[in-house]
Symmetry: C2
């Protein structure tokens, strides 16, 4: 009986995970506000009440979607950077991973959080807060990578890290925006060069591969 | 009778303009895809058929909204730059005007086109094309300002203008994104400093005022 209960729970968990992953895809096309239980149910060929049972409200679904998109971002962008030793290699790994995450096209609308931030900017509330929280923790992490690179001597002590942060964020956001609108991945290659020139490393230089891709 | 007809036409033009301006505001909150004739009619306390008479279809309304947002962008961002003589002053006027346009908060969701680009990225069609066309012409214009600044000797011939373009676009987009999510205009001031440092002009330097604000 205990094994049976565990199997049922495991099955429910897997179903919920499949629903949330589909919700991330749909939200990347229609926006977090455009996500509805009805549309999601139709895409999954489930009943609305079946989807509703997993979330209970549209806001609950939106928050679960943002949490799942955050796990995807961590997996694609942060983990490859965290696997590098401190220094410029880690900063460049972060930027390269971001550009690769956009190019892979897991999400048809480019970076989930770049879109969600602008979509929800004018809509204060728990859903905007969840997106803001992801953004804060991501950019705080990149800032800590820059500070580490000053510590290792890869970046000069005189470097203004708030300036450099805004520049790197900007290169990544501009690349994402132009890739989405121009459907040409040349801008992602250009962005990788711009990052390297800004950080004073040779074009084409890559951090040592420390994890399998 | 002729005067009467002209007055009727003028009245219709003004009504259409008021509807489209409200549509720009609503689209900045709910997205271009989230814009509906029903919602717009409710906001304007008009009948749906009254709004429908001016546009005929949702796509027509979306295209008119994008065209109106483009006029607003030209007015706020491009005209102050075009009023400057060629050189770095014009480039900086463009960036400053963009940051001022975001700060003014005419649109609660920040720059209309930054949002619309990411919203419509995964949705090919005439509406995405209209946004892409605005983006192309805006960035082509900024590129021509950079080329002029090489011509006047304000920028070195060795400057890679494709790199510099992506960096400036990036600083503006990152500032817009952080302003929208953090509700703190300090990032707009920071961005103005970063633009100046990147272009090699002193912090706080401003182009000579050539038009009344």
């Amino acid at each position: 009986v205990v094994v049976g209960e565990r199997a049922v729970r495991e099955d429910g968990r897997r179903r919920r995970e499949a629903i949330v992953m589909k919700a991330v895809e749909l939200a990347s096309l229609d926006g977090v506000q455009g996500l509805t239980i009805g549309h999601l149910a139709a895409e999954l060929e489930m009943s609305k009440s079946g989807v509703y049972a997993h979330f209970g409200s549209k806001q609950e679904l939106q928050l679960a979607t943002i949490a799942r998109a955050s796990v995807l971002f961590t997996d694609r962008v942060i983990e490859p950077a965290a696997a590098q030793p401190p220094g410029l290699g880690r900063v460049i790994a972060f930027c390269d991973s971001f550009l690769r995450y956009v190019r892979r096209g897991d999400l048809p609308g480019g970076c989930f959080f770049a879109s969600a931030t602008l979509e929800l900017g004018g809509r204060p509330g728990p859903v905007k807060q969840a997106v803001a929280e992801h953004q804060r923790s991501t950019w705080t992490l990149l800032y800590s990578y820059l500070a580490e690179a000053v510590g290792t001597g890869d970046l000069a002590e005189s470097e203004d890290l708030q300036h450099l942060m805004l520049e790197l964020q900007g290169i990544l956001l501009a690349a994402n925006s132009r890739y989405v609108v121009e459907d040409d991945d040349g801008v992602l290659t250009l962005a990788a060069s711009v990052v390297r020139r800004r950080l004073g490393v040779p074009d084409g230089w890559t951090p040592r591969r420390v994890t399998p891709d």
